[in-house]
């Protein structure tokens, strides 16, 4: 039981591109970022819906997570983007996360999910980002600084 890698939730990508057509738009800012502990064992092939099992929440960071429209400094939008970077690769990126006045214990990873979707897949999972260690706050800012290569990439020309 542990989180070892980051990744996109593949089944939901397929369901966007086939007859299921779940309505994914990764630039929506009603998507939420939720924290999870290292007790979780993600399955990127079969996990499709966000749930609160092993969730990390606390003061300043409600259960269910924070909407991307309010997860950047000052309660502003992280403004997710989809671009080609580098050539042949889809890069999903957004502004750094900075949520003030939180008290959280042992967050190991974050998961993004489509909070606005209800059917055919409610709360469809998008991506898990593994922090690689447990992080905590006590009445302080919880922040994530993304790499220059973005939150996640899909190489279409491997």
């Amino acid at each position: 039981m542990a989180i070892t890698v980051s990744g996109f939730y593949i089944q939901n990508l397929i369901d966007e591109l086939d007859v299921t057509n779940i309505g994914f738009d990764w630039t929506l800012t009603t998507h939420k970022i939720a924290l999870i502990s290292n007790s979780a064992t993600p399955n990127f092939d079969t996990d499709v819906t966000w749930n609160s099992t092993n969730e990390i929440s606390g003061t300043g960071w409600a259960s269910g997570g924070i909407a991307l429209s309010a997860a950047a400094a000052g309660g502003t939008s992280t403004a997710p983007t989809l671009t080609i970077s580098p050539t042949g690769t889809i890069m999903w990126d957004m502004g750094d996360v900075s949520v003030a006045s939180t008290t959280l214990t042992n967050a190991r990873a974050c998961r993004f999910y489509a909070d606005a979707l209800t059917t055919p897949t409610a709360d469809a999972l998008i991506l898990l980002s593994n922090f690689g260690a447990d992080y905590s706050t006590v009445a302080g800012t919880f922040g994530i600084q993304w790499a220059a290569t973005g939150v996640g990439t899909i190489d279409g020309t491997p």
Partner: protein, 129 residues
């Protein structure tokens, strides 16, 4: 009622989704530029960033709000959100070109900022060894 083609219905769906998104109070329209400016100037949410130290491993370093949201990225974000709203309100070649240009400018601003800083990762205000 005449049946509509898949293409016609897809276009209607996209337009309807755009209108719904613009009207959603949970979305980011308009961008809260003043809140961003205040957060940067007042440094209301400083945080620690974990930096690798050869002697002590990961150690925290205080970083200002601007390390998470510099003015250049806030400016580019405002332009991106504005262009996105214009496209959603009136999807077409002209608004799409504007949207893509603003998006590319935002991505470039982020990359310039991130390549110029020494760290990335998770920031937390308390260290628990």
């Amino acid at each position: 009622m005449a049946e509509q083609t898949y293409g016609e219905l897809a276009a209607e769906r996209v337009a309807a989704l755009g209108r719904a998104r613009l009207a959603d109070p949970g979305e980011h329209f308009p961008y809260k530029r003043e809140a961003a400016r205040a957060a940067i100037e007042d440094d209301t949410a400083p945080a620690k960033v974990w930096v690798w130290d050869p002697r002590n491993g990961l150690v925290p370093r205080d970083r200002p709000t601007a390390d998470f949201l510099p003015e250049a990225v806030a400016d580019a974000t405002e332009a991106y959100v504005t262009a996105q709203a214009a496209y959603l309100a009136d999807p077409g070649a002209g608004t799409k070109t504007g949207y893509e240009a603003a998006r590319d400018a935002l991505v470039a601003a982020r990359q310039v900022h991130r390549r110029g800083r020494a760290t990335h990762g998770v920031a937390a205000d308390e260290v628990r060894f």
